[in-house]
Amino acid sequence: MVEDVIGTDLLDIQGEKSYHPRTEQLLATARSFLSYKASVVGLVITAIYFIFALVDWVYPAILGIPAATFNNMTTYSPFAIGTISGGINNDGIFRPGLAHGFPYLLGGTIFNFPLLLGMIASLRFDIGYSVLVVFTGAAIGSSVGVIAGYLGRWADELLMRLTDIFFSIPFLILIIAFSLAFTSFFNSSLTAMIVALIIVWWPTYARLSRSLALSTKSLNYVEAATAAGSSKTRNIFYHVFPNVLSPIFVQISLDLGSVILIFATLAFLGVAGSQISNYTFPELGQLISSGSSTFQTTFTGVHLGTPVIWWPIIIPGIFLLIFTVSINLFGDGLRDALDPRLRK
């Protein structure tokens, strides 16, 4: 290819090691990314979370979590794990500390579910399904958006009106309503919730990629491709789509954090029905809500533990916060690194 030859020649003249121009570009991006210290920290922490989720998925026994499918409630039963004699206080609550062994380092919920194990076990669900939702949503949304943006006219107008509708309903309400409505259709409240999230999530990507496609399609190289006989389909998938991808990856990295928050919120509200609001299923929001039930029951007169049991609320929440902040930092850094105009 022409630019290959030119690129190599120029680099040879300067006497530096020469790479393929694409590799050069990638290296420049990586160098730029590595110069943002906060983003690198974000990447490292995010990677650790992902590794935990993967290990838990592939071989949970390493982490001391019993191998189980998500449908097997009994294996995660708090009573199966929590029956360690002498580990429980008078009020039946594990307090933080090493006294009860490693899994109880961070204490337990009022149902004697060890927090440390619960938090690590929840990563598989939280990260796994967030990745599923965000990537599916991004794939659907960006394809629709790029096609509509490239075709313009009625396709564009249709897409804009369609996304208008989705943006005009607060998404939490929409997700709750959708996941309820689809439960009987899918015979599973969890599947319904995932589908509902995807339905609510794709319009963001459609809007984003539409606006990117609009600006890309009028660029000279696309016109040149058209003049050279490139068809519409080829234009869309070979010339426009690759140029839309990097902002979409930035959006994906930012959204992974938001979807985990929504999972936690839905579990807290008890929306996904028995499948995740059950106290035997590890999910960060559900762990938090099991903590909160201590003072929600106080109002009805059953005061479980004084002073208030703060660790089942604070600890999983901070665990979640560290992940969302890291992934946001990572996404911010990625955005700056991928946009050459913002490079230092």
């Binding site: 009106r161 005009s168 607060p170 439960t183 936690a264 807290f268 109002f299 208030v308 916060l321």
Partner: protein, 384 residues
């Protein structure tokens, strides 16, 4: 384009969006299916009612259902859709039955909505009071230390789940009772772990304690609301009862703080960007060159122009509030519209879910319309 044509075009766009909204709500209704909707209508499954009877009850409630092959199914989707749409637009929004209350949906909304307004207005006032000066300060000093602090603050606003923040506030400052604010039946029961500051009630909006003590004409026990505006803060002032006002105010502290933190992040980022944008303009350089003092430049030249795009914050704010109040109302057992929405959803109250989805959609659409029109009015360039 002239302003009136812009307004006309922008208003007409609402019509297809509104129709799409009704289609989506109808899909939700269809997806729920006759069995769940029946469960919402008659929540006592112990009584074994024949399917034909169930179908009859469903059709009495406006759902055309029939028994086909021993299963309850909806019949005539097109007819049902048009019935549904005409019902929606005539304000005939069915009933919520059993859980969380039994009432016509519209009446339930009418009773719960004022509580949400109280929360939303409180949070809006707080958010603007904090964001305006803070955004101006940070925006005038981009990339300074205070800017970095502001960025972390914004980031944490995005990264925090609202319900968790609410719970943390309860753990720190909560008090199960009316806590030193007098007139509480539960008295002072500190729950929060910070001594002396754990005085803030976290259950409801304060009206829960009124049922036994409130004078007649001030409290309606049907829905647990005060009269005449149903907004406890205002009603207590109208009735001249200062102790009630203090109770109402105390109950607002934690929920308002939670909602405010959630919406603040977005607004702060927006105002900061507006300030940075405006400070790069030529007229700012001119003003500085003329020797206008720096404080005046920021106040008169930069902020005035930065506030223009901030009008769009209104749309952002409303959508953030409508989403944000849902979880916050659940955490604090604050009986507003978001609380009603979740309760209705968890109890299969079809009309409750649909009505609130529809209502929120309309509110957001109208807000966006107003924002666009105001923006076009202020900035002629926008009328493309």
């Amino acid at each position: 384009m002239e302003l009136k044509y812009f307004i006309l075009r922008r208003s007409l766009v609402i019509i297809p969006t509104l129709m799409g909204l009704t289609v989506i709500t109808f899909i939700l209704l269809w997806g729920l299916g006759p069995e769940l909707i029946y469960r919402g209508i008659n929540s006592s499954p112990k009584v074994n009612i024949p399917l034909s009877q169930q179908a009859l009850i469903l059709s009495q409630n406006g759902f055309s259902a029939a028994v086909v092959n021993g299963k309850l199914v909806f019949t005539n989707p097109i007819g049902m859709y048009f019935n549904f749409v005409s019902d929606l637009f005539r304000g005939n929004w069915g009933y919520i039955i059993g859980q969380p209350l039994t009432a016509p949906t519209l009446q339930a909304i009418e009773f719960y909505f004022p509580n949400t307004i109280q929360l939303a207005v409180g949070a809006t006032v707080m958010a603007l009071l904090i964001a305006m000066p803070l955004g101006t300060y940070i925006g005038a000093r981009p990339n300074s230390a205070s800017d970095q602090v502001g960025r972390i603050f914004s980031l944490s606003g995005y990264a925090l789940p609202a319900f968790w923040l609410g719970l943390v506030l309860i753990v720190l400052f909560g008090n199960n009772g009316t806590a030193g604010f007098g007139n509480g039946t539960s008295g002072n029961t500190p729950v929060g772990i910070i001594p002396y500051l754990n005085i803030f009630p976290y259950f409801g909006n304060g009206t829960e304690f009124l049922s036994t003590t409130a004078p007649k004409g001030f409290f309606s026990s049907t829905f647990g609301q005060t009269l005449p505006t149903h907004i406890f803060l205002i009603d207590s002032l109208i009735a001249g009862k200062l102790n009630y006002f203090v109770i109402a105010l105390a109950h607002m502290v934690l929920p308002v703080a939670t909602v405010t933190y959630g919406v603040l992040a977005g607004i702060l980022r927006f105002i900061r960007a507006g300030m940075v944008d405006a400070s790069g303009q030529e007229f700012v350089k001119t003003a500085r060159a003329k020797g206008v003092p720096e404080g005046q430049v920021i106040k008169k030249h930069i902020r005035k122009n930065a506030l223009l795009p901030t009008v769009t914050v209104l749309g952002l704010l409303i959508s953030g509030l409508l989403g944000g109040v849902v979880t916050v109302e659940i955490v604090f057992n604050y009986k507003g519209i978001g609380w009603l929405a979740v309760q209705a959803a968890l109890n299969y109250q079809a009309w409750g879910i649909l009505a609130i989805t529809f209502l929120f959609g309309i509110i957001l659409m109208v807000t966006n319309l107003i924002v666009d029109v105001v923006y076009a009015f202020m900035d002629p360039r926008i009328r493309y």
